[in-house]
Symmetry: C3
C-alpha cells in the first residue's frame, strides 16, 4: 500500500475563531450537549476531596428542601465552560477574567446541558495583533432553562491582521454581584440543617467579615487526574493534554481543576458553605503543573441575608497556592505572589 495522497478537499477540521471573527451581538450555540448521571457525580468525588453533604447525599439534600443531591456547582460550571472552548478560547492568548456569574438552577442526574454565548464586548489591542472578546455564556438544561450565566473575557489572536478593528465596546460589569442578584434554588430551606452530618458546627452567624481561614490540607496533583477531569468536561484545549505542545514539555493544568481542588479543600473550615450561587471574579494568577501540591485559604469578604428560610449568603475569597504558608496574595507592586495559583471571589449559601 502506498502512503495516502492528501487530497485538496475543503478542510474538515476547524482552526477556531480569531479576533476578527467575532462581532457584537453574535450568538454562538456551542456543540455537544451532555447528559449527566451518577457517573459524573462519582467521578467528581473521586477527582476532588469534595465533601459538602448537600452534594454527597440525596437524603441530606432532601432535608434541605431539594429533590435530590445536585451535581456539584463547579462541575456544572466546568460542563458549561468546556463547551465554549472550541468556539471562544481555542486561539486565546489569555483567559482574562470572569464576572457576573450566577447559578440559577441546580443540575440533577438525568439533565442534559448545553451552552450558548453572546458576544457583548470587543476591544482590539493597540498592537493590532489581538483583541479582547467579552462573552456572556449561558448553560441551559433540556427544558431550555438557564442553569448558569456568566461573563468571561479572553484575549484572542487575529489571524488576518489587516482586518479592520471593530468598534470598541466594553461592557459595564459590576465587580461584585449584589445580594439581591443571587438566586436561591427553589425550595431550599436550611432551618432543619443537620450540623453533625454536614461535618462542622459553624453557621453563617459564626463568620466575620475579614476573617481568614487556612484550610490546612494539601493535595499533590498528577497528570492523569487533571486530564481525566478536563476530558470529563469535554474541554478540548490542547495545552492540557499534549506534552509536545509547549517547549518545556509540560501540560498546563486547566484552571478549573485548581478551582475545584481549592473549593473541595475549603470544606475544612467552610463545610457549611454549601451551594455556590455567584461568581464575582476570578484570576488564574500563575500556571499550575503536575507535581504541585495545592493548598487553599479563604477570606470572608461580605455577608448578606436572603429571603429563603434559614439561608444566609457569604461572599468568600478563595485562594489556591502551591506552597505551604503562602498567605500573602500580592506583592507591593500589585502583582500576585509567585505561589498564588488562583484568586476567586464567590458567593455561597450557608445555614444561618
Amino acid at each position: 500500500m502506498k502512503a495516502p495522497q492528501f487530497h485538496v478537499v475543503p478542510i474538515k477540521t476547524t482552526a477556531g475563531r480569531f479576533f476578527e471573527d467575532y462581532s457584537i451581538g453574535q450568538v454562538i450555540d456551542h456543540a455537544v450537549p451532555r447528559t449527566v448521571s451518577g457517573g459524573e457525580r462519582a467521578l467528581y468525588h473521586a477527582l476532588y476531596p469534595a465533601r459538602h453533604a448537600l452534594y454527597s447525599s440525596d437524603e441530606f439534600a432532601r432535608s434541605c428542601g431539594l429533590p435530590q443531591s445536585p451535581l456539584d456547582d463547579l462541575a456544572a460550571f466546568h460542563i458549561v465552560f468546556g463547551k465554549t472552548v472550541p468556539d471562544v478560547s481555542l486561539n486565546a492568548i489569555a483567559n482574562l477574567g470572569y464576572a457576573q456569574g450566577r447559578w440559577l438552577r441546580p443540575v440533577y442526574a438525568g439533565d442534559t446541558i448545553r451552552s450558548s454565548s453572546e458576544v457583548i464586548g470587543l476591544k482590539q489591542n493597540s498592537n493590532g495583533q489581538s483583541g479582547v472578546v467579552y462573552v456572556r455564556t449561558r448553560g441551559l438544561n433540556q427544558r431550555g432553562e438557564v442553569v448558569l450565566d456568566y461573563v468571561r473575557w479572553v484575549m484572542v489572536r487575529k489571524n488576518n491582521t489587516d482586518a479592520p478593528a471593530p468598534e470598541t465596546v466594553v461592557p459595564q460589569l459590576a465587580p461584585v454581584l449584589t445580594p439581591d442578584q443571587l438566586v436561591v434554588p427553589e425550595g431550599l430551606d436550611l432551618t432543619n440543617y443537620d450540623f453533625t452530618l454536614s461535618g462542622e458546627p459553624h453557621r453563617w452567624s459564626d463568620y466575620e467579615i475579614g476573617e481568614t481561614i487556612d484550610h490546612v490540607d494539601g493535595v499533590t496533583i498528577e497528570e492523569a487526574e487533571h486530564m481525566i477531569a478536563t476530558r470529563l468536561w469535554q474541554n478540548t484545549a490542547k495545552v492540557h493534554f499534549d506534552a509536545t505542545n509547549r517547549a518545556d514539555g509540560r501540560r498546563l493544568i486547566y484552571g478549573g481543576h485548581v478551582i475545584s481542588m481549592a473549593r473541595a479543600l475549603s470544606f475544612n473550615g467552610l463545610a457549611n458553605a454549601q451551594m455556590i450561587v455567584g461568581l464575582n471574579a476570578g484570576a488564574h494568577a500563575n500556571p499550575c503543573f503536575s507535581g504541585d501540591t495545592i493548598r487553599a485559604w479563604s477570606e470572608v469578604l461580605d455577608k448578606a441575608e436572603t429571603s429563603a428560610p434559614g439561608v444566609g449568603a457569604i461572599r468568600l475569597r478563595l485562594v489556591a497556592t502551591n506552597a505551604a504558608g503562602a498567605f500573602r496574595l500580592k506583592s507591593d507592586d500589585g502583582k500576585y505572589q509567585p505561589h498564588v495559583l488562583l484568586d476567586l471571589d464567590y458567593w455561597a449559601l450557608m445555614p444561618m
Copy 2:
C-alpha cells in the same frame, strides 16, 4: 505463626488455553457478565476526548430516533472483547487481526453484556510450537440479543508440543463488509439532524472517497489512564498492568485504548461520523507505551447509502501514530512505519 505450607491440591488458578486445547466448532461461553450504567459512560468520557453528540446527550440521541444515548460503540466492543481474554488470548503471542465485525444493537445503561466465542479456524504453525486460532465472538445482552459480532485471530502457544496438529481450517473472511451487511439501529433517523449541536457542518455528501483528514490534536498517555480503562473492560492481560512482566519494565498499552483514543480524536473533522457499525480490519502496527502522544488521521475509503432515513454509511481508515506529521502508513517494503500504532478500517453512519 509459621509460614504456610503450600499443599498439593488441584491447582485452582488456570494457565489459560493453549493451541492444542481448541477444536473447530468449540463454543466458549466467557465468564463475568457486566451490567453497564451511567458510570461506564462517564468514565468513557473521562478517559477519552469523546465528543460525538449521540453518545453524549440523551436529548440528541432522541432527536435521532433512539430511546436514549447508547454506550459508546467502542466501549461495547471493549466489554465484549475483555471477556474473551482469559479464554482466547492469555497465551497469545500475537493478536493477528479482526474481520467481519458488526454492531447489531446499541448497548444502553442497564443492559447486561456477556460474550461467547466459537472456534472457526485452526492452523498449526510449521515450527510446531504454536498455531493460529480463529474465533467468532458474539456479545449478547440480557435478552440474548446479539449486540456485536466479530472475528478475531490470534497466534497461540502450544503447551504440549507433542500434541498432534489439528486439521487446518482457515475461514474465508471477506476483507470488507459490504454495505448491505451493515445493520442500522432500529429507529435511527437523521433527517432532522442538528449540525450545530453535533459540532461540525459536514454531512455524508461532503466527504470524498480518497480524502484524508488530519485530526490535529494530540494526547499524551499516562499509565494510570490506560490501566483504569483496561480494568473497566475487565481485560486481565498481565502485560498491561504488571511492570515486572517485561524485561524493559514497561507496561504494554491495550490496543483498544489506542483505538478509542484515536476515534475520539477523530471528532475533529469527523464529528458527524456518529455510530460505528462495521469493523472491516484492524492492525496494532506497533506497541504503545505511557508517555506516547497519540495523534490520528483518517482516510475516506468508501461511501454507501442505507435504507434508513437520512443515514449514509462511510468507510474510514483510522490511523493512530505517536508522532506529529506521520502521515505515511507503510514503508516501501510493505511494513508499517515505526510511528504507526494502529491501522483500523471501519464503517460509520453519518447524516446524509
Copy 3:
C-alpha cells in the same frame, strides 16, 4: 490590595480528636453521608481488577436471589471507614487492628450510607504520650439499617499530656467470628449458581482447609489511582494525598486500596468466593507506595455450612505482597516479612 490580616477569630478548622478527647460509651456520628450510584460501581471496577460476577452483573445477582448487583462489599467498607477518619484517626500514630467485622446487608445503587462509632475501649500507653482507642463502627443506610459493623483500634496521640489517664477498658474481642455470627443476605440462594458465567468451576467442597492459592497476577500501582480511590471514599488522611507531608516525599497508600487490590486479584483461584460477610482480623504489615507491584495469595483457614440454600462459608487468609514468590508471611521472630503488605482474615460465601 494588601495581604489579608489573619484575624483572631475562633478557629474554624479542626485538628481532630486526641486521646484525651475520647471516653467510654461516647458515640460519634460521623459526617458526610453518601449516596452511591452506578458511578461508584463503575469506578470500583476501573480501579481494581474486580471480576466477581455477583458484583458485575445484575442478571447474575438476580439468579442468586438478590434484587440487583450490590456495591462491592469492600467499597461499602471503604465508604463506612472513610467517614470515621476525621473523627478517629486524624491523629492516629498507627492503625492497630480490626475485629468482629460483619456485613449485615448489601449496599445497592441509590442507598445513602452514613457511619457512627462508639468508643468501647481506652488504654493509655505507659509513656503518657498516647493511648489506644477501640471503636465499634456501624455503617447505616437511609432506613437506619446497619449494613456493616466492625471494631477497630488505633493508637492516638495525646495533645495535653497532663490530661489524666482514663480508666483502662480493653474490650474482649474474639479473634475470629464463629460461623453462626455470619449473616447471609436475605434471599441469597446459590443452588442454581452458574459456574460458567462466574469464571471458575471450583465450589465450596473443592477447597481444603490449609490449602494455599497463588493468585499469580500482579498490578503495579500508580499515584493517581490510589488517590482517586481514596478520595472516592471521602477518606481525608493527609498522608495519602500530600507529597510534602513525609520527609521522603512519598505518599503512603491507604491500606484499604491494598485490600481491594488483593481481593480483586484473588478472583484468579477464588472466583466463587463471592460475598464477604466477615472480617476476623487485618494487619497492614508494611507500607505500600506507588510503583509497588501488588501480588496476592490466599490460605483456606476454615469452612462452615450455612442455613441458606447452596451457600457455604469459607474463611480465608488473604496476603498481599510487593514481590513475586513472597509466600513466607513472618520471620522466625514473628515479625512480618518485609515484602508482606497485608494479612487479612475474612469469611466469604461460596456455592456449595
